[in-house]
Symmetry: C2
Subunit: 264 residues, 2 copies
Amino acid sequence: MTIVKIGGGAAINLPAIVADLESIEGPFLIVHGANALRDEIATVHNRPKKVITSLSGYTSVYSDSTAIDLIMMAYAGLRNKRLVELLQQNGINAVGLSGLDGRMVSGRRNRGIRTMQDGKKVLLRDFSGKPHTINLELLHLLLDREYTPVLCIPIIDEDGYAINSENDDIVALLQNELQAHVVFHLIEAPGLLDDVEDPGSLVSQLTSSDLATREQEVEGRMRRKILALRKLFHNGSPIVYIADGRSETPIRDALAGRGTRIQS
Amino acid sequence: MTIVKIGGGAAINLPAIVADLESIEGPFLIVHGANALRDEIATVHNRPKKVITSLSGYTSVYSDSTAIDLIMMAYAGLRNKRLVELLQQNGINAVGLSGLDGRMVSGRRNRGIRTMQDGKKVLLRDFSGKPHTINLELLHLLLDREYTPVLCIPIIDEDGYAINSENDDIVALLQNELQAHVVFHLIEAPGLLDDVEDPGSLVSQLTSSDLATREQEVEGRMRRKILALRKLFHNGSPIVYIADGRSETPIRDALAGRGTRIQS
């Protein structure tokens, strides 16, 4: 089993990724982002993304009801369906699902984020949360009949509300439940970089214990991303490739070592 | 088996419809529109809907690639996922799918519409077409496990492209394939009206052969709608209710005779 996470950056080369999926052996599923598209649609609708920083230093998107509307339009709507269309054109019988559909990905809504506003500590609660259950019955129902699930946010909370969630957490949960042997992260960079500003600082090989060290060296969103990567190794020992989703052959490049390879 | 078609008008009372679905006995599936939402999003994106009239008098939406983007955002994205969310909150394990997903609804792309432009006859080809195949395997896979399919456009054409299609045609095809006994059309009117301008002119009872007579009396989009209704009776003899999707109990009202009831 392979999980392919496709980033939501504007430069992600969807047609190239889809054409290169034939390099994967065995069944796979896709989890995709759409953040560039979401931002673009948000701008047109004059609804800029709200970002808040928690007291502990993590930044996150503040997802009100309008933000969920935008996620539905950008992720579950335009990006998911154009990706499913591309997959179908390449002979892959894809089924696009948000976490709401069949309760594919359910989670717990965040209780609130403690943050500073005008010099005061406040608790902000939005429509966001952490995934904790995968509908494995539905997932296997599809996989067993050679449908390729194409998953995206929003996910569903304990009261049936659509909530935003981090794709990295969804991928970690899926990996844990499915014991996937290989996880691809196709992003807008050559791989994991020692210096985000320097594409030449690619880290080619890494162990899961190296991740723990690195987690201490970075902050904010990057810290959470590394934490999510570490979670992939909590239950199972996959090979994780972080590779360039902008290239002409993103998966072959990753397999050939032109990205970051992480192994326990 | 019951098919519930929910119109895409702005006044459609989705929460009331969803709460009233318990009035339906046995399994059902939903086909929904989102035209008001699509128009609204199109306006924000400064992409007004293009409508063309064929030489034979039918009007239709001209669906270029941008129009399909808007359909994906409005139908498969925002409307489908908010509806699935409502269903989940009401204990119905809904799975929202466009026709692309698992090739649920595939069709043939229109060869082009003959129309007049600047006084000349031209052939315009867009991303639209007629549905001709339902993926019954996937549909039954879901229904057998008590998932409720929630279907919408776009559908998929013979080359794997996303195309626009009339929901009435999709419902007629589904009815034919599933031999549904009951079909609800929940619209923004009390039912079928003798005079569209007069809500008091409700036609309470109708036979399928009455439809043929009526088809001759109307034009354009309404004519195609009646043709689609007639198709429901080509293979099977369902009871068709056309009822007010704006009321507090749309399905109970329909069953109680407060709409139009059509029977062969």
